[in-house]
Symmetry: C2
Subunit: 549 residues, 2 copies
């Protein structure tokens, strides 16, 4: 598509309110007559610094903090680093003037990151992220091959940095939702998207998940037949809602943990392309890969790393981003550092075609404006610092740029895999499992585990109505709490309980927050007790108390 | 007012859209039957930790960063600390496990802040700020006596932490603006508020400043007669705009630098109270006091500090917050750490009555959600660390809690005062000043200086029309740029150029960004040259080129 054609096409997706949003430009200069332009250009070339009297940016002499020193590691896990010891590989870097920090002579593995303190503490280069963080994310996008196979030129896409995916989705719903538009959302989802939409006049509607999908049967976690019918017969199904203009999906699904492979995504994409529906891909878990890899030991550590890296990136590409198949520029991807670095950083990114990104920049300009410079710089420098750690670990400086980050993501994946195994093994040892009271959707990515109760056979009463399901799952939650387990029951995660109640008989747990393996084993046992108690008691004479809703 | 009465009263100010905004609560449990409640309470008392399987919060073993060390100082200014030396008082603190940092034995003035790394890197306690930062800001509010003299109970107010005042004003306009409401804004202002309003369907209208106000004549920088007439005869003046429901003011005015004393605020407040108009007080500069104090040397350093502190706080109270006179709960105050700590932190706060704060919390929940934990913690710990620095400086531990922060604000004020003096003295030495081509509004607070051109006498052609003024001030900007000075001309800072063009003949400069005194002196000289050239050339045969708009 030519730019103009593309812009006409994309304009149709923009909310009515968007056109009125603007920031009066008060900091600009010009236009200039030609004679002056020449003069000013000569002045620029003269190397004389322009005297900055326009903007209320405090000079660095007005900052209290002179230096920040960060100690970070590639190594993970309690057994390694809960008690710091000689064997832990620590990288130390300084932001600001390291003359202000009292360094030890023996601090061998320390480097000055060459980041001046004012670049952390002053206003950012842009409201949509510092140049350095934008540059880093662009490099990571290429490193992880998001655009591999995409026929549309990579140059048609751009990014903005945000304070996390909640903020990203807020901006996106501001951009794309209005009273004449409907956003399609997976029937079970992370409910903040509903809150984002409630900031607009937009409509929402669920599309169905296929909870029977598994790696073995290869089925699409998204119920494609349902989606096609929905888009074909929309006005019959929802006579009072506008036709959908955007579909929101979490491809490593929250809460179910189901994973859309690249083939599954192609099926969804083809439908969306056909029916002119944008796709928002919300993927905070995409780098947390839980599949096992046979460990092969190489003589050369770098060779070993490269082998593992190739395996990791190849497996990731089996569930590659929708961007990789986006021929029309209709995919918008949201990513976050929350799950793969730290939630408290509040760093996220939106990747989309330039038309949408330009409008998003305007929304950011008009609303919340910039995010933490401290967070952005620490994220950047840790990311780059991982290279130092990896080079040291491998005893080899010949690594590729940002390979350290790949190693970090692999270490994190490995740790999550261990956590999942521990929990699942513990669950499978319970009496409840032996009695076939539940099954698990064994996740191949991410941090969630979906425990499906065998209601159809053993408590079919719950399937009769929404209220029966909600009461039953409330009793299930009571039993979990009695066993001192804080989890989320499925009935609380549906977009429309009337639509999805019959599928709500599950418990979503995460392996992220538990302190250690011991707690995960205990969790498995206690969840087992709770499920047993639920089936033994609920709607029988053993029921201990009434359920309140 | 009783709570119900108050809520009915405040509800009238809320935008129509606000009621539809909500976050589905999926993480909650209950309600519980009484028997279960008893059981769960017993469990809580048993000290057994609840197993956290609900929320995707990575455990601290999953964070790369193990330790952050910060070096900061109370001392300011190039002459002191541009080259670090023995005499600079540095405080060092550690976030996270300091066993991971390689400390020197000689690092005497270092302390572990007892902040665990997970409290920085995990999700925050609340979307509207960490408990620790909320607690700190509440202490600062009391320390600076914002509510002194306020008849309404301090308990009726609450706060939210935001990522700075732009975000605060965005949330506030979302809360308070809709198609049936008008927000009044000073005729010259910081234009981001216009962008914030453009995210709503709200209307805006200017109210007049009195650019003749000075400390000597005691006049109100807000044209009270204009405001009263506006509110009395609204429908005649603006037949097509809804009656105003809120007034936005920057009491240490940007761009003019004019300061509303407490008496001036009382006049504005009385009008707003009478006409049922809320007041948003946007005050990022309130702690930067530029008045001189005669230096009195005491034998006891603590005594000296206490004397200076008393003077500082007393002078601040002469321009105390609107909160201190808010009997009706109609004042909303926005503050920021940008100008008194560092813009890159992105930390701001909104203080308002609990009714509004509850609705703001909901908006934050539904939109951008939480802000940087790293920023919040560094801000907290630096703030508290200032006490260590002050105690060391005074050789006395008997200081009051947060006195260190007061000392920091006084040091910063002193530094800004020196910068202003340097610039103003340089300006007053110019030929342009001697020829009476301009006057300065000498600021008593803040970081801006407003240079008023003597157009009425010397270039009255600019006062004929909006276009004459804009062309003239564009030529003024050309001359500034030719002299390598980046400043902002008044015609770019008016809310409504048709309304305010005749007052737009000024240049706004800031003393914040210049690197040092030398640059400020040079700035003064060059601004003088530029002004002289403007008056010599514009609309004469000497004019070098045409003006483009």
């Amino acid at each position: 598509m030519t730019n103009n054609k593309a812009n006409n096409f994309f304009s149709k997706f923009i909310s009515k309110e968007d056109a009125q949003r603007y920031l009066p430009v008060f900091w600009g200069h010009g236009p200039f007559p030609a004679e002056l332009e020449t003069k000013l250009n000569a002045l620029k070339l003269s190397n004389e610094e322009m005297i900055p009297m326009a903007s209320g940016v405090p000079s660095k002499e007005l900052f209290s903090v002179k230096n920040i020193t960060i100690n970070h590691t590639l190594q993970l896990g309690n057994e390694n680093v809960s008690v710091p010891n000689e064997n832990v590989n620590i990288n130390t870097y300084h932001i600001g003037d390291d003359k202000f920090s009292k360094q030890q002579e023996s601090e061998k593995h320390s480097y000055n990151s060459n980041v001046a303190i004012e670049s952390v503490f002053e206003y950012s280069d842009n409201t949509y992220g510092s140049d350095s963080t934008i540059d880093l994310y662009n490099k990571l996008i290429d490193k992880f091959n998001y655009f591999k196979g995409n026929e549309v030129n990579r140059d048609n896409y751009d990014i903005v940095i945000t304070s996390g995916t909640s903020a990203s989705c807020f901006y996106l719903t501001q951009l794309l939702c209005d009273e004449d538009k409907t956003i399609l959302i997976e029937e079970f989802t992370y409910p903040v998207i509903v809150a984002n939409v409630s900031m607009t006049k937009g409509h929402l509607a669920p599309f169905n998940l296929n909870l029977n999908a598994s790696v073995d049967n290869g089925q699409n976690p998204i119920d494609i037949a349902y989606l096609e019918n929905l888009l074909t017969n929309w006005s019959k199904i929802y006579p009072n809602k506008p036709y959908p203009s955007v579909l929101y999906t979490i491809p490593i699904q929250n809460p179910t943990g189901l994973v859309q492979s690249l083939e599954h995504r192609q099926e969804v994409y083809d439908l969306c392309k056909k029916f002119n529906v944008l796709i928002i891909e919300d993927d905070p878990y995409g780098n947390i890969l839980l599949t096992n890899q046979d460990k092969i030991e190489f003589e050369d550590k770098l060779e070993e790393f490269n082998f593992e890296k190739e395996h990791y990136l190849n497996t990731l590409s089996s569930a590659a981003s929708y961007l990789s198949i986006d021929t029309e520029g209709i995919v918008i991807r949201c990513e976050s550092a929350s799950k793969i670095f730290a939630p408290g950083m509040r760093i996220g990114v939106i990747v989309a075609n330039k038309f949408f990104i330009d409008r998003l920049k305007n929304i950011i300009d008009c609303s919340t404006r910039e995010i933490s410079g401290v967070s952005m710089t620490i994220f950047n420098e840790c990311c780059y610092g991982m290279d130092s750690l990896l080079a040291r670990q491998l005893g080899n400086n010949e690594i590729e740029h940002l390979d350290g980050w790949i190693q970090w993501c692999m270490n994190l994946s490995h740790r999550y895999k261990l956590r999942q195994e521990t929990l699942i093994n513990s669950l499978y040892k319970t009496k409840a499992y032996q009695k076939k009271l539940f099954t698990c959707i064994e996740p191949k990515f991410g941090m969630f585990l979906c425990i499906q109760l065998n209601l159809a056979k053993l408590k079919p009463e719950l399937l009769r109505s929404r209220i029966d399901m909600e009461k039953g799952m409330q009793y299930m939650d009571y039993k979990l709490l009695e066993n001192n387990v804080n989890a989320v029951v499925g009935s609380k995660l549906s977009l429309d309980p009337n639509h999805s109640f019959s599928k709500s008989g599950f418990i979503r747990v995460t392996v992220a927050q538990a302190s250690d393996n011991k707690q995960l084993i205990e969790a498995g046992q206690k969840i087992g007790f709770a499920i047993e108690a639920f089936f033994n008691e609920y709607l029988t004479s053993n029921q201990e108390y009434n359920v309140l809703l």
